[in-house]
């Protein structure tokens, strides 16, 4: 179980300190799919990066299964069972899709297993397994590969930072299925998704609304969601995608 206690995070904008997260406390229980939503600039992605260890808080504590991991490195948190899917996946010249999946799995990954992860995100394994994770891949392909690497982590806590950003309509539907499947097998694990897509909010157990770096609402989906419908915290659909362009059209 993950617990955030009185987390504060600031950035330095040209010598001026600006608060992004203000004294935020939040438990993420095991066995739940939690979605953090809220308007843009509310601190959602920052919170995800704080949990993964990419950013360090100015104050507060992060507890993981009772242990204070606030000062732990990204690597140590990953080894302790925290996985993180980037909003903007990283490109690598030379590293192949299989390499990333192998590194993510942390073991001698068999080809058949690697192909299974790709199939789960709707990619034909034969076409992608040997591809370099470089600029030859489209934004949508990269995003699906990013999600496949996180599935290969098989972690106790998996964080997705705006998983819908940059993927096409077909992939979006596929993505919902991936989350549904993860949720069914979640048991004593947790899934944390940063999103403001209504359909993702709909499959959550719990919703957290973050506004201006503060907790604006938190609770069971059925209690919170009705209040969010029609606001920037619950966008009904991928508008651009619904024009049927496919490809790289962004949500």
């Amino acid at each position: 179980m993950l617990e955030l206690k009185n987390i504060t995070f600031r950035v330095n904008d040209d010598g001026v300190e600006r608060g992004i997260i203000h004294n935020l406390s939040l438990p993420i229980p095991n066995g739940k799919l939690v979605v953090i939503t809220g308007p843009n600039g509310g601190g959602k992605s920052t919170l995800a990066r704080l949990i993964a260890g990419i950013e360090k808080p100015a104050a507060g504590q992060i507890l993981w299964n009772g242990t204070d991991i606030t000062e732990w490195s990204v690597t140590d948190r990953a080894k302790a069972g925290i996985a993180f899917a980037f909003q903007q996946p990283v490109r690598f010249k030379g590293l192949q899709v299989f390499d990333l999946l192998r590194l993510a799995s942390g073991k001698q990954l068999r080809m058949a297993e690697a192909c299974e992860y790709l199939a789960r995100v709707g990619l034909c394994a034969r076409d992608y397994i040997d591809r370099e994770v470089n600029a030859s891949l489209s934004g949508g392909e990269l995003k699906r590969i990013e999600i496949a690497t996180v599935l290969a982590r098989n972690a106790e806590l998996t964080i997705f930072d705006e998983p819908e950003a940059g993927i096409d309509l077909w992939s979006f539907q596929n993505l919902i299925e991936v989350f549904r499947e993860m949720r069914e097998t979640v048991k004593d694990r947790s899934i944390l998704i940063i999103s403001h897509q209504e359909r993702i909010l709909n499959i959550a157990d719990q919703l957290v609304v973050l506004k201006d770096g503060r907790l604006s609402a938190s609770g069971a989906k059925d209690e919170i969601l009705p209040e969010l419908i029609g606001t920037a915290s619950a966008v009904p659909d991928c508008r651009k995608n619904s024009q049927g362009k496919g490809g790289d059209a962004e949500c």
């Binding site: 993964a52 990419i54 490195s73 990204v74 690597t75 990953a78 080894k79 996985a83 993180f84 980037f86 996946p89 990283v90 690598f92 010249k93 030379g94 590293l95 192949q96 390499d99 990333l100 590194l103 993510a104 942390g106 690497t149 982590r153």
Partner: protein, 308 residues
């Protein structure tokens, strides 16, 4: 009969992936002596009479055969210049594996300068693999200064893979090529320098015939206090196409100089040069750290992938 010790066998594995006597034609040179040689019905290897080196003659039409000519040096202080000429007959299709490994445990410099000339007949295709490797903890330097000259007749094609990943202190590589009509040259160079190593790689490719094409791509990593210079010049003397690319990762106090050189002497010569030098992107390291790798392990994976 091959008589090689453990160190020599290790060098052979590094530079030519050889675990035993290779199939087909070969000449293994060890400490300036021939440690074994074999010619085949189609590939004849003979010693030069006037200077140190070999003449390798491949009969026209020879297909699916290979030539291995690795060099290993384990005596400190050896300096040699070797002239190897390859005559590749028309329509032949062969693989040539060269490479040099130096193990220098002494205090004197060891140096091998291989001058390779390729005369590639019409419609012939060769794949040439050259790996350089150094080891040993002596103060003596390990120096390799290869010169590769390629003369391609009409519609021939040459693929060259040049690899130097570790242990060579000083290298000055020169590659010269002249291509007739329809000839194609593809070069893939991979280089990593560390410590105080110096590596200079100079290319001059003349595209002399209509439809000739060249694609010269170098990927390199400069670590510690090492220095690299990549100087690639393409001359388009006919309707032709040429592309050179230098893609480098710089680390620590490494230095890299990329010198683009394109000279078009024909209005239908299409020549392109690309060069990029930069350190490993921070988000690449962070991504691999989120998979459980340490910062150092992440860097190694990124470099290994880049040079693969």
């Amino acid at each position: 009969m091959l008589k090689l010790d453990e160190v020599q066998m290790r060098l052979l594995r590094e530079v030519a992936d050889l675990h035993k006597v290779p199939e087909g034609a070969y000449n293994i040179r060890s400490n300036s002596q021939s440690a074994g040689r074999n010619s085949t019905a189609n590939i004849e290897i003979t010693s030069k009479q006037d200077v140190s080196g070999l003449e390798i003659r491949i009969k026209p039409g020879t297909k699916h055969e290979s030539v291995h000519i690795p060099v290993v040096m384990t005596e400190s202080g050896l300096k040699e210049t070797v002239y190897n000429d390859f005559y590749i007959g028309e329509d032949a299709d062969v693989v040539i594996v060269a490479g040099c490994g130096i193990d220098n445990c002494g205090n004197q410099d060891s140096q091998h300068d291989g001058i390779h000339r390729f005369f590639v007949g019409k419609n012939a295709h060769i794949r040439y693999v050259e790996k350089h490797y150094g080891s040993g903890d002596g103060k003596g330097k390990r120096i390799l200064n290869p010169v590769t000259e390629v003369y391609q007749e009409e519609n021939s094609s040459v693929e060259m893979e040049m690899v130097q990943i570790k242990g060579v202190d000083d290298t000055n590589r020169t590659t010269l090529a002249e291509l007739a009509a329809g000839a194609k040259l593809v070069v893939r160079e991979r280089l990593m320098t560390h410590g105080k190593q110096n590596a200079i790689s100079t290319y001059s490719v003349k595209l002399n015939g209509e439809g000739a094409s060249a694609d010269v791509v170098s990927r390199s990593v400069a670590r510690d206090d090492s220095y690299q210079k990549f100087d690639a010049k393409l001359l388009g003397n006919a309707p032709c196409s040429g592309h050179t690319e230098c893609d480098s990762i710089i680390m620590d106090h490494g230095r890299i100089l990329a010198v683009p050189g394109l000279e078009a002497n024909d209005v239908d010569a299409a020549l392109v040069h690309e060069a990029a030098i930069g350190k490993i992107a921070g988000d690449q390291i962070i991504k691999l750290m989120t998979l459980g790798l340490t910062e150092q392990e992440a860097e190694e994976q990124i470099i290994n992938g880049f040079l693969k």
